[in-house]
Symmetry: none
Subunit: 122 residues, 4 copies
DNA sequence: GTGGTCTAGACCACC
DNA sequence: GTGGTCTAGACCACA
């Protein structure tokens, strides 16, 4: 996995885990990789993975059983999808639209860009 | 002015200045507010404003005359517009489109959101 | 049985066993459930129950006969009661009183809470 | 400061900070010691202090201004007092009362212990 | 084996 | 100066 340098690694790991859960690759009440395991896979310090897990536990995405590992919470998949969609519609899109206004880009241009994107990303 | 905590304040100030220039509120070869003036207005440490000015000077958006202050470069407005548009089309839009794919949002939903935005931002 | 996450499970199991002995549900020289039995009942790993039994054996609350199981020691009930009372008076109560001081709770409020507790726990 | 070994140091530090805030030694919107400063004072690793601050920030007890330090949130003092009192009345006291029932301690004995405590802690 | 805590020391961006 | 992140390595209790 490659890490982007303008976002904390532990947050990128948390995002990666959310991706897996949202796509149901890791299901409800299923054990996720141990801290050390994932640290080896991602070539990262165990503390960094730990921090990502901690972060997700506070959001109740995952939970821990002592001595046994971390597990996916019930309904986390739907919860993640919902929160991401909310954030997208309420914050990211409006920001984009404001930007379009400022730059004088209209909806036609937007659609043609979308068409182009879809063609080149089959 | 409110600052977003996930972007450096001096960069947000630089953005703000670019906004003014792009919208031609501050015109070519016109003096812009002094570091101290702007610091008072934005309720920010003068060092932070200084850093924003520095940043913009390196990009040749503004220039300084010793003892007189900072001034807007010729053609800065067009330059800013062009750079912003480029970045928007090459980076921001594709990121948004990728996001839409992942969240299962199609072009119809995008358009309806845009309609809604336009109606509520007259 | 529900376990509190801020105390080791094996200690909570040991407490549970002490409860039974103190209340004389499990009497002197009587056999207590086997490790496996109790593990099934409490939905816990047998190792964890084993550890609780080990702990209690060191305190001479229970003893083992090879091949036969674990048994309650003579006088364990009284011993447990005495030790618990001691700890309660010397450590738990003073801690509570210190807490009350800090929170500005006086003896009247304490008594009214006790009244309320007694009424709702008949 | 002495640390108790049966609770994480960073939580004890967080408690200590809450004490200061509750007692209004550190007031609303006032700067609290920097991570490094407190680390030196408490003879602890800066990371450990950082973790305590992080913990309190998530509970909105304190907040951070980049490059400037940590500050006490508005109303944190009252909030801490309220939460501690709630926890005391709803969890700690009932546990104590249950314990009293089990140990055969009545309200008279409780009061005499409280008297004794008050005399010896003037 | 698992999580959890802690230290020591480093580097970075920001104010 | 400030916070924030990351690494390396250690130790502990728990299952």
């Amino acid at each position: 996995m490659e890490f982007n340098s303008d976002k904390a690694i532990y947050l990128q790991i948390a995002d990666y885990i959310c991706d897996q859960i949202q796509m149901k690759k890791w299901k409800s009440n299923e054990k996720i990789p141990s801290v050390r395991e994932l640290a080896v896979i991602l070539e990262v310090n165990p503390n960094t993975v730990m921090r990502a897990y901690d972060h997700l536990q506070q959001q109740e995405i995952i939970y821990t059983k002592r001595g046994m590992g971390y597990f996916v919470n019930e309904h986390s998949s739907a919860k993640i999808l919902k929160e991401r969609k909310d954030q997208f519609l309420k914050e990211e899109l409006p920001a984009i639209f404001r930007r379009m206004q400022m730059l004088g880009i209209n909806s036609n241009e937007l659609l043609s860009q979308l068409d182009y994107f879809n063609k080149t990303n089959v």
